[in-house]
Amino acid sequence: MRWILSFLLLAFLATVQAVSSAGYKLLVVLEELADKSKYSKYLGDLEARGFSISYESPKSDKVALFTLGERAWDHVLILPPKAKGLGPLLTPKLLLDFINAGGNILVALSASQPTPSGLISLLLELDIHIPTDRSALVIDHFNYDTLSAAEKHDVVLVPRPDAIRPDVKNFFKGDGKGGEAIAFPRPVAQTLGNASPLLTPLIRAPRSAYSYSPKDDVDSVEDPFAVGQQLSLITTMQARNSARFTVVGSSELLEDTWFDAKVKRSVGMNGAPAGNEFKTSNQAFAKEVTGWTFKETGVLKVGQIEHHLNETGSEIVSNPKIYRVKNNVSYSIELSEYSWDKWIPFTPPTGDIVQLEFSMLSPFHRLPLKVAETTLTSTIYTTSFKLPDQHGIFNFKVNYKRPFYTNVEEKNTVTVRHFAHDEWPRSWVITGAWPWIAGIGATVTGWVAFVGLWLWSKPVPLKGAKGGKKNL
């Protein structure tokens, strides 16, 4: 009996451990509970990873994102509702407040169910634009699934995404072997504003794809909403507080049917012939996208920060409040990365480095931090440098912001004082001072000799003057 209990306890601990770094409370906003069965595999995966899921209808009064002013859920998943709008407890403002309070949101859109206007204004607020025609969808005549969409070409097959830049880590490449495809049935296109560094397209449409409205563009498309790689099929936004927001263009991607579906590529743009039937990678990819959104991957944690004087002969005092200009100083910071269920040492992707700034208003130094030591759960980065010859209040600042990683912004303030009067080189070391020091010596010698003469000199008769001199 007892061993069963302990086994249960162990199993419970295991599930509790295998959970996101940002909490396990997940709210799924779903219009009809019957729809749950459509997503059973996806939601089952989430539960298996330790999320405790509550299901609510968008109009329900229990859907509140906040209770007594505190965030009630850690994560929210909004599946496309059938109704035109979301309820009064899911207004764009409340959703934004939820993000500002650190909650993560995953929104799935669907071309077959018009996107509620509340969601559209939320997306607009974040500079994500979707077509004004609510039924517009993305099609591609060169990358469609010939089994399910031979006529309409509205199931777009997209390969696993490449890293958006060579120096950015790709969390969504699967095992990296290639040859996989993700099926996007009837996706809703998104275009992104160019101004914000917080927005990142996770998956772009292929070159030949375009968004069209089945109502207006019947014969031919002349003024498409957007085309080619300008279309984002999955968009991510990571707020300044590292809360994550993801828009998945096709909610059907998450459905059981497409987790198992077999697909067959059409003839591609380069004339590559159609291949064989194969299974979609939707399940693994959905896990990666959801895991990223709900902070199971790409989360950074700062451990210990330490800085000290690095002069020969000085004793090491950790984190002093004050330094002098031109002191040699060492700085180290400990960084960990969360990966699904554990903290691992953080290593930046090839081509990227962690940098330390030493700044007063603007950086005086911006130096690369090098790996000094790797522990089981963290990497310790360190650097040594000479403080600038400017006194004032300075910050040791590590500002590591990268797409898909949570923001690291660590500031440690220290005072940098100028030289004290007795820390300068002595005057005899300065060659330019030698004539002046010699001058003082000469004056002192002359003065002492003069005092002796004044006291003890006997007047002598001046030559040529009669009767001697000075008989005072």
Binding site: V221, G228, G271, G446, L453, L455
Partner: protein
């Protein structure tokens, strides 16, 4: 050798033609570049596009010129209007691609014409500043199982006016690694040449023997020393050594004493100087009054 390399390409070509006949394609595609307001003027560029080979020379597009393509799209050899008719322009430096949907016009006799009017104003800045000609790809596709058409048809060389400043492209902010900054320290203060310092030091030090020498020449002596010490031995020795002591204190203050170490000692020595000095100087005065000075 030759044959073996030629044979597959001939096969591929054959396959391409066979495919072209069964899918989407185009007829009588004419590309022309003309200056604004002078359409069809002599000297304007005009050529025919081929569906499997790109034009051998890049098409040049000047500052004020417009590019026009007129073609008839065909499905399985029959003129038909495709759903997608795009011209893709790709920057070969960056891989950035911009798409231009062609304007379709339905004319009679089952013929479908396409025309696109492109001037440099329609192109994004990034493409204007490309160092290589843009690669133009034509897409003709529609629903159903008919094979879509996509081929590289020509290269477009953008000629910018050298008199007009090139538009500047400002990169938007993206998070990433920033440039390294190393503080530039102010130069340390430096003394002048050592030789000059030494020269003047020697000159200053040499002034002391010159001073002593000239005093001796003028008859300075210490002949009254025995007389003075005989008359007031304590006060004379104390007075002179207290003056020496005071100089010693000044030296120690310069070397490593603080003001608070120096002041009490200087006070004591000063008192000694004052007391012994009044005695010693009275003795000097007595010698003067005795007419010995």
């Amino acid at each position: 050798m030759r044959f073996s390399s030629l044979l597959p390409s001939a096969l591929v070509l054959g396959a391409g033609i066979a495919e072209a006949a069964s899918g989407w394609n185009f007829d009588e595609a004419i590309i022309s570049v003309s200056a604004k307001g002078a359409a069809g003027a002599a000297g304007a560029f005009k050529d025919k596009l081929s569906d499997h080979v790109p034009l051998s020379k890049p098409v040049t597009l000047g500052q004020t010129e417009t590019l026009k393509i007129i073609l008839t799209a065909t499905e399985n050899g029959e003129p038909k209007r495709p759903h997608q008719a795009f011209l893709l322009l790709r920057d070969q430096d960056t891989g950035l691609e911009e798409t231009f949907p062609l304007q379709t016009k339905e004319s009679g006799k089952g013929k479908v014409d396409f025309a696109t009017l492109k001037s440099q104003k329609d192109l994004p800045i990034q493409l204007l500043t490309s160092s290589q000609p843009l690669r133009a790809t034509l897409l003709l596709a529609s629903f159903g199982s008919t094979q879509a058409f996509a081929n590289h048809v020509f290269n477009l060389d953008i000629q910018t006016d050298p008199n007009v400043a090139k538009p500047k492209y400002e990169k938007p902010l993206r998070y990433g690694q920033l440039g390294e900054i190393n503080h530039i320290f102010k130069a340390d203060p430096k003394s002048g040449p050592v030789i000059i310092s030494l020269l003047f030091t020697v000159a200053v030090v040499a002034a002391v023997p010159i001073l002593f020498g000239s005093w001796v020449l003028l008859g300075a002596n210490l002949s009254h020393l025995p007389k003075a010490t005989a008359a007031a031995p304590v006060s004379h020795s104390l007075f002179f050594s207290s003056i020496l002591g005071m100089e010693g204190i000044f030296f120690l203050y310069y070397y490593n004493w603080s003001l608070f170490e120096m002041l009490p000692v200087a006070g004591v020595i000063g008192l000694v100087t004052f007391l012994s000095g009044s005695k010693a100087l009275s003795e000097v005065q007595s010698r003067r009054l005795a007419g010995e000075r």
